[in-house]
């Protein structure tokens, strides 16, 4: 069934709170280490004792299904305002619900950027009736142009959960220092996209033998590492809370480990695509990072869908990111969901807009990594749910009395990624046509059903 036919299966945060029982689900709750098969009841939007389930409430056989805390995406591009052809708050939130996410954090690199209270309020307002909680990240600098700080106090007042100039680093050292000092004063989280523009030098894929052979300009890991190191120093010096997003190289994680050892307060995320895809995909390779490198299909080379910033990593770096996820260095998986229409992607590789959609494939790529033995299932779930939620100050728990905020997953089911199976307005991903494990059967955000794949009776 295509997603268009399932349109009525999305709900919103404005719906009535749900009541149902999942019988015999495997409940994984990283907040308290729970991993057990049991009944899980939701009564009027809260986790309840199953004995309190009202008569006549739906009881679902959840044998073989996972019940996990709702996912929280720290890095989502919703394209509203200015890019509504590619995504809107409403469509992005549906994509989130479809992928098991109950919170998405909207990045401010819209047109115009989210650099003042009014712009923030518009996105938050649209989010109130969406299929996921929409939290807003404001821009660090006015107009997101990197020169003058935005009114960060007013942004905090407007409710932003962090600030970031994502899409670019706050490259100017003086502006960066001011931003760290101001964020420390205000208690604001600073989210950095780590890319020294001079070192990245207009690169369009990861530097290395593949880039040299393909004649594409390389973007060296040093461009990321230089900003990671600078920001760790600034965080140490100012006490600002720092979150480094979409890290792509082993050396960045090493720098974070060293900084934490001396007490620096820093968190970080990696994307599903940097954990699973490699620079060989630009060359037409289609093996996951954990698979032995194999034949390439030259006819798939230079696919603009493989252009992303930071670029797809070398295989060794992807494996190091997976190891960092497994050992806890990486706090969260964040999608960097970046919708683009075909006119931005069906172009020569170096002209393609960077980014791919990720909300609806994040879990599946993670489960593929779990199946390959790269990371334990509870660690994956924690990196998608409780851990990022904690970074933005949200509760996630599946104990009695908690607000029901969860996803129900069929880990044994598979699906084939296709444009008409995605709720996002865009389908820019090199995973189109790929069969992946894991189907989200139900998503409940703030007690409301936001996605119901027929698991509960349909209204």
């Amino acid at each position: 069934m295509t997603l268009a036919a399932l349109r009525g299966r999305f709900g919103s945060l404005a719906d009535a709170p749900a009541t149902f029982l999942l019988a015999g689900a495997r409940v994984i709750d990283p907040s308290d280490g729970t991993d057990e098969v049991r009944d899980l009841a939701v009564v009027a939007g809260r986790i309840a004792d199953p004995r309190r389930l009202p008569d006549g409430a739906p009881r679902v056989d959840a044998t073989g299904l996972l019940a996990v805390p709702g996912f929280c995406d720290l890095h989502t591009h919703l394209r509203e305002p200015g890019g509504e052809g590619a995504e809107t708050v409403a469509s992005g939130a549906r994509a989130a619900a479809h992928g098991g996410f109950t919170t998405i954090c909207a990045m401010p690199n819209t047109t115009p950027p989210l650099d003042d209270a009014r712009a923030v309020a518009k996105v938050s307002g649209a989010g109130r009736v969406a299929a996921a909680r929409v939290r807003v990240i404001g821009s660090v600098t006015a107009g997101r142009d990197g020169t003058v700080l935005a009114d960060l106090a007013a942004l905090r007042e407007a409710g932003v959960i962090a600030v970031s100039d994502d899409g670019a680093t706050v490259a100017d050292g003086e502006v960066a220092r001011l931003a760290f000092e101001r964020c420390a004063d205000l208690g604001l989280l600073l989210v950095e996209h780590c890319e020294d523009p001079l070192l990245a030098d207009g690169g369009v894929m990861r530097s290395g033998a593949t880039a040299t052979r393909l004649g594409l300009r390389g973007w060296a890991p040093e461009a990321e590492l230089a900003v990671v190191r600078r920001d760790l120093e600034l965080a140490a010096d100012t006490g600002a809370r720092l979150h480094l997003t979409h890290l792509s190289c082993a050396a960045s994680l090493d720098a974070i480990r060293a900084a934490r050892a001396r007490g620096v307060d820093v968190t970080c995320d990696v994307t599903p695509h940097h954990l699973s895809l490699t620079d060989a995909w630009v060359d037409g390779g289609r093996r996951f990072a954990w698979e032995a490198p194999g034949d390439i299909d030259a006819s798939l080379a230079y696919d603009g869908h493989c252009r992303v910033n930071p670029p797809l990593p070398a295989r060794d770096d992807a494996l190091a990111l997976l190891a960092g996820l497994a050992d806890g260095t990486v706090d969260a998986i964040a999608t960097d969901h970046a919708p683009h229409g075909p006119q931005r992607k069906l172009v020569p590789f170096d002209e393609a807009a960077p980014g791919l959609v990720g909300l609806e494939t994040a879990l599946s790529l993670g489960l593929a990594a779990v199946a390959a033995g790269m990371v334990a299932l509870p660690v994956l779930i924690g990196a998608l749910s409780t851990s990022p939620a904690r970074i933005v100050g949200e509760e996630r728990a599946l104990g009695t009395g908690a607000t029901a905020d969860l996803a129900v997953i069929d880990p044994a089911a598979t699906w084939t990624v296709a444009a008409d199976r995605l709720a996002s307005r865009s389908a820019n991903t090199p995973l189109i046509g790929r069969e992946l494990p894991g189907v989200v059967r139900l998503t409940v955000a703030d007690g409301r059903v936001t996605w119901n794949d027929g698991l509960l009776p349909l209204r």
């Binding site: 040299t212 393909l214 004649g215 030259a298 020569p348």
Partner: protein
Amino acid sequence: MTALHIATAPRQHLLDVEGMPRAAVERILDLAVEMREARAARRHRDLLEREIVATAFYEASTRTRVGFELAAKALGATTVDLGVAGSSVGKGESLVDTLRTLERSGVTVVVLRHASAGAPWLAARATGLRIVNAGDGAHAHPTQALLDALTLREALGEVSGRTIVIVGDVAHSRVARSNLHLLRTLGARLRVAGPPPFVAGFHAWPGVEVASTLDEALDGADAVMTLRVQLERDAGNGISSMADYASAWCITSDRLRAARPGAPLLHPGPTNEGVELSAEAANGPRSLIGRQVENGVPVRMAVLARICGVSA
């Protein structure tokens, strides 16, 4: 998208020489020799009469564009040049939209030159056209490599086992990349040389030795290929000045003495005389630059005939 022309065989392209089997290379070179004779004898003039060949050059070119146009005409194809500057491209039409327009107009083969590496792969995926790569960014220039291989084969008798040296801005050169692939397939020993920014990344290129001085590069060379220094590259090319480059790397008849006696000199053109090679070397007895241009048309005749699936 359905192909608008009837193709009985699977669609053929010439996107790259990387990975082309040696036998296929030899067949194209043999066919080029036959085409050279056929052209002189005015034979095969209706071989491609059912084809419409468009040249779409998003970067300037004389040799390659004219070479393809004459090759297509010599085999009886209808030819059309997408004058990029005077077309809808100037109005912001995308590459794919332009190519689809050509396809709907009846064009069957597009010869594409583009500043972006990989543009021909996009063209092949997004249309039903047969695509010939006439140079994509810093990536590949298959017909230049084929005509260089033919030129070398005729000058040296045999490419296999010979030491062939490429001097200049290898890092930014599609000619160098395609020659490295093709000459390796033909069994040559390969060496590249230039100032460090010009050979960046090539220490890891399979089967290629990097020399750090011109004398070291030329020592024992059976043939020398020098590349155009891109004077027009606006972001700077990593070398301090043209004069510095020339003093270390300009190939003169005098410096050519470091190579094997009689080793020929090649250059894909257009040359900057006094920068990458001297005027007397370019015009001297060891220069094959004229032969390279002469081989351009028959090699392109062979390529067009092959991708159109016709046998001469």
